[in-house]
């Protein structure tokens, strides 16, 4: 079979193009990408006073209650709406929303700045999109803390164990000098359970699953969706329904 130089190069180029496109076809929604949807309307029904998501998370993961706010450790906590979504506050916003508080946690960003700055690879992205934390490798440099625009990372300035009310022996505690954060309950997912906060919510305000799951898609399709600080390009995977 004869093949001119031109034909050969065209075919070679075609093959290279096909090769580079293949992974993007293969991924899409088939690839597992975990996400959470928080329905703020439902969440408000249980407020004020509901704190069950935080309690469930913090007791499951041995998160200490340190009274000094400078040393506080937080995996999931409440923040004022106007601090969470500063660009969404305007005179047209219903006052019950503007004055409400919003549960916030690690956003498990598509493009996490904490991972980019970590010098030891202690924080890393898993294939399912979870931004993982390997405390064994954390050297306590705290670069990730200012890098995270959502303040989702806490540093153990003091030994956290004296501040634990109860200890869950199924999950490790942490030591002084490491950073910790929400892990989307990776250890619970491994045994087929939902994250502790999702399970504990009395009004089912949180939905968790793959971004392609019908339950997630349905909730995202029917309402107005907010993501925290989208202008930063981090692409959070915790979605808020207004």
């Amino acid at each position: 079979m004869s093949c001119s130089r031109r034909t050969f190069l065209v075919r070679l180029g075609g093959m290279a193009l096909a090769g580079s496109l293949a992974p993007s076809w293969a991924s899409g929604f088939e690839k597992r990408r975990l996400a959470m949807v928080v329905d703020l309307n439902r969440c408000r029904q249980a407020r004020p006073g509901c704190d069950l998501c935080r309690q469930a998370c913090h007791s499951a993961h041995n998160v200490p209650s340190i009274p000094d706010p400078a040393h506080e450790i937080k995996w999931i906590w409440d923040e004022e709406f106007q601090r969470v979504f500063p660009t969404e506050v305007h005179p047209g916003l219903p006052p019950e929303i503007a004055t409400s508080s919003v549960p916030v946690l690690c956003n498990h960003c598509e493009n996490p700045p904490c991972v980019r700055v970590c010098p030891t690879g202690a924080t890393f992205v898993k294939p399912n999109g979870i931004v993982g934390m390997d405390e064994h490798r954390c050297i306590g440099c705290r670069y990730c803390m200012p890098a995270c625009p959502y303040s989702s990372r806490s540093f153990n300035f003091v030994d956290p164990r004296p501040f634990l009310r109860t200890t869950n022996t199924d999950y490790p505690t942490r030591t002084k000098g490491v950073v910790e954060k929400c892990t989307f309950c990776e250890e619970r997912l491994a045994s087929g359970r939902l994250p502790a906060c999702v399970e504990a919510c009395p009004v089912q305000a949180m939905t968790f699953g793959d971004i392609g799951d019908p339950a997630i898609q349905q909730r995202l399709a029917s309402s107005r969706i907010l993501r925290r600080r989208p202008e930063l390009g981090t692409s959070p995977y915790v979605f808020y329904i207004l």
Binding site: K126, T167, T169, P172, T175, A190
Partner: protein, 98 residues
């Protein structure tokens, strides 16, 4: 010079299952095995293998098992600074060769 006496480790009860690796190999290399398993669990999310909790099912007394050798050799591994050596919740152990 007097040779140091080897510490005598607690021997698991006869009802215990076989160790996950050859006991002689484990005496020398359990550190390597635990580090590999740690990375598999934390980095790759593979959790169906041996766990520290699994060790504690047969070697019930940490002071007679981990600590005895580590003290004799003046080693200070920090595994149990964070992890608990608890025998509360039984886990299935794997049968495995070296």
């Amino acid at each position: 010079m007097v040779a140091a006496r080897k510490p005598f480790l607690e021997v698991p009860s006869a009802t215990s299952q076989r160790c996950v690796r050859d006991p002689n190999w484990m005496r020398q290399n359990h550190r390597v095995l635990l580090q590999q398993l740690r990375d598999k669990t934390v980095r790759d999310g593979i959790r169906n293998e041996v766990t520290l909790r699994g060790c504690s099912q047969c070697h019930k007394d940490k002071t007679q098992f981990c600590d005895k050798c580590h003290q004799a050799a003046n080693l200070h591994p920090d595994c149990f600074d964070c992890h608990s050596y608890s025998t509360d919740h039984p886990v299935a152990l794997l049968e495995g060769g070296p």
